[in-house]
Symmetry: C2
Subunit: 364 residues, 2 copies
């Protein structure tokens, strides 16, 4: 373990586990993984992995597994070079991730890599740790935990890494340290030869590009209960009143408009824009009946990543003065669904909310 | 029974049963009601009714109850003066109602009264029976069948009756016969003294006014799973990103714009419009946690009245060149939800739909 790059991995589901496996396949990384629901079974048997990139792997255990995030002020643990977060990102539901990882962070030494979707996901971390390099990881891997400790990776590991802007300011360039940390990580991730990984300085562009799909297909599928294939089957292809033509395409065009206003020109002209939209509409063949992650969450009655995939886009649009009625509608309905879910989970009490509202009215 | 007005009632749930009760309370009507799921229990015990207008009524049976719509070519039955339809209106799901009632209709004698929501609900009937008076009934009664044969009416019976335009043309005036049939019905309905009933010539205006609520609150509640009180609690009252401010109000303003383009001016100026919208947003107190019918349908996994409450509005908007992005989004998502429901009900087969789509593509 001497000389190895020390990685703390938070979120050891499908993408996290394959990420750990690929890093340790380099022989140059020591991964400490924080496990929750799958800890006992992984401790006993290791992960059972069926991977397009790594083949069938039985009994894989990261170098160290544990149930809690280390507190470096209380444990004798060498500092971590990278803290990788691959959890779902739901800032509107506790716990607050920056607070959770703070005890494991060594400012001046550690970098944080967020392999998560969304636009401004770095801001809570940049606010909490202004001097720490915050890196962006955009994964196009398809990987799921089918049962505790059982991982299927059926879409190959393609990772794009860059550095987020240094401050909340948005368009300020990242620090040299952050760029260096990103490039070093890309080198490490490439050693195994099993994954496709690139350093990409244009984090904002990459994140907007992925939002064309994530801010549209994800919530539309989650709200309707339909996968991408089924949704495309509602109405004839040329029907102006089909969900694809009435909502999905307009919503994608809105994402492109907001991206442009935010400085990310994804399509040079109207023709390129239509081609891009068409590509995102037909991202998967009908027959695959692909279930975006938010639809999977809906079916499992788990919280959706509404704020990072959709809320940020609507807020940036408001900030830049871009009208986004389709995205606004989707966002409003998704917010409503999350309220209902949180009430079911016991996180909201309707009578308490009425009381607060009425007091607010009286207070005016 | 001699000299009594003969009424055939189709749809004997909450609103239908109270309508029958009120008509027969006049002593001047003979109601033949077609019952489905509640036939056996009503035959045995009659309806058990708790009515704000009629008090507690045990064992009420319409003058005649039956399980099928009479076929006047095969049965010796006197012709019906009025055929009243109070079923849910879902033209996208079989059976086709005009075909069902055709055998009970005596052209030149019968009038059809549709006590249903929606805008252009008369068109399938006017197309099938061009010479038959088609009447519009807009009910503001709140009545539900709590269990088979058990009716609670907790919001008083207020009925507005008029005649639909004579033809599909839209703005052509109704026939004299239709106006006379509507006025005669209003007189009959008023005899009991228990209901508030009015003749209202401005059917289009009345229908658009009700759509301000029905095309917005209904699907927004159904799609989120939240009642009107809970939905208003999502986000602060002044939060521009709350579902009410981000979606519900814009959708209501769109209904007003389409109505205006269709010749129904519901609000004279911008100030009146905002007042009307505010009134529809706050139609019920928070604490009532009112569940619009579409939300009730969603919870019971029944088909929603999407096309008549929402689809027609979006189609009229397209026809008149009015942009309705919020309503379009809601409609698209509701259509998707109905596709999912119909698949669950065995009415749609996804592989068959893929085959048809692929053949369509090859055919080009």
């Amino acid at each position: 373990m001497a000389g190895k790059t020390r990685v703390l991995l938070i979120g050891c589901g499908g993408i996290g586990t394959i990420t750990a496996l690929n890093l340790e396949a380099s022989g140059q990384c020591h991964v400490t993984a924080v496990l929750r629901s799958n800890y006992e079974i992984v401790k006993e048997r290791g992960f059972s992995i069926d991977s397009l990139d790594h083949g069938k792997v039985e009994g894989y255990r990261p170098s160290e597994i544990r149930t809690t995030i280390p507190d470096l002020s209380k444990e004798t643990v060498a500092p971590f070079d990278y803290i990788i977060v691959t959890t779902k990102n739901i800032p509107d539901v506790p716990p607050h991730l920056p607070s959770l990882i703070a005890p494991a962070l060594t400012p001046g030494h550690s970098a944080i890599l967020l392999i998560q979707n969304g636009l401004n996901i770095h801001i809570p971390f940049a606010t909490a740790f202004p001097s720490v390099p915050i890196l962006s990881g955009i994964s196009r891997m398809g990987a799921n935990e089918l049962a505790p400790g059982v991982i299927l990776e059926d879409d190959p590991d393609r990772l794009s890494v860059g550095a987020f802007p240094a401050t909340e300011g948005g368009d300020s360039p990242p620090s040299d340290a952050a760029v260096a940390a990103a490039k070093r990580f890309v080198e490490l991730y490439a050693v195994s030869g099993k994954a496709v990984v690139e350093y990409n300085a244009n984090v904002k562009f990459e994140r907007w590009r992925k939002l064309c799909y994530n801010a549209t297909w994800n919530p539309v599928c989650a709200l309707t209960g339909l996968d991408t294939g089924r949704l495309r089957l509602v109405g004839e292809k040329a029907d102006p009143f089909s969900p694809v033509n009435l909502l999905l395409r307009p919503a994608m065009r809105e994402v492109l408009r907001v991206a442009r206003a935010d400085g990310a020109v994804l399509a040079a002209d109207a023709e390129a824009e239509e081609k891009l939209v068409e590509g995102v509409v037909e991202a998967e063949p009908l027959e695959v009946f692909c279930q975006p992650s938010m639809l999977q969450d809906a079916k499992k009655r788990r919280v959706w990543e509404v704020e990072n995939l959709l809320g940020d886009v609507v807020r940036v649009a408001a900030d830049k003065g871009v009208e986004v009625p389709a995205l606004s509608a989707i966002y409003a309905l998704a917010k409503g669904r999350m309220w209902a879910l949180k009430e079911d989970m016991g996180l909201i009490n309707k009578d308490e909310e009425v009381r607060k509202r009425n007091e607010g009215i009286q207070g005016r």
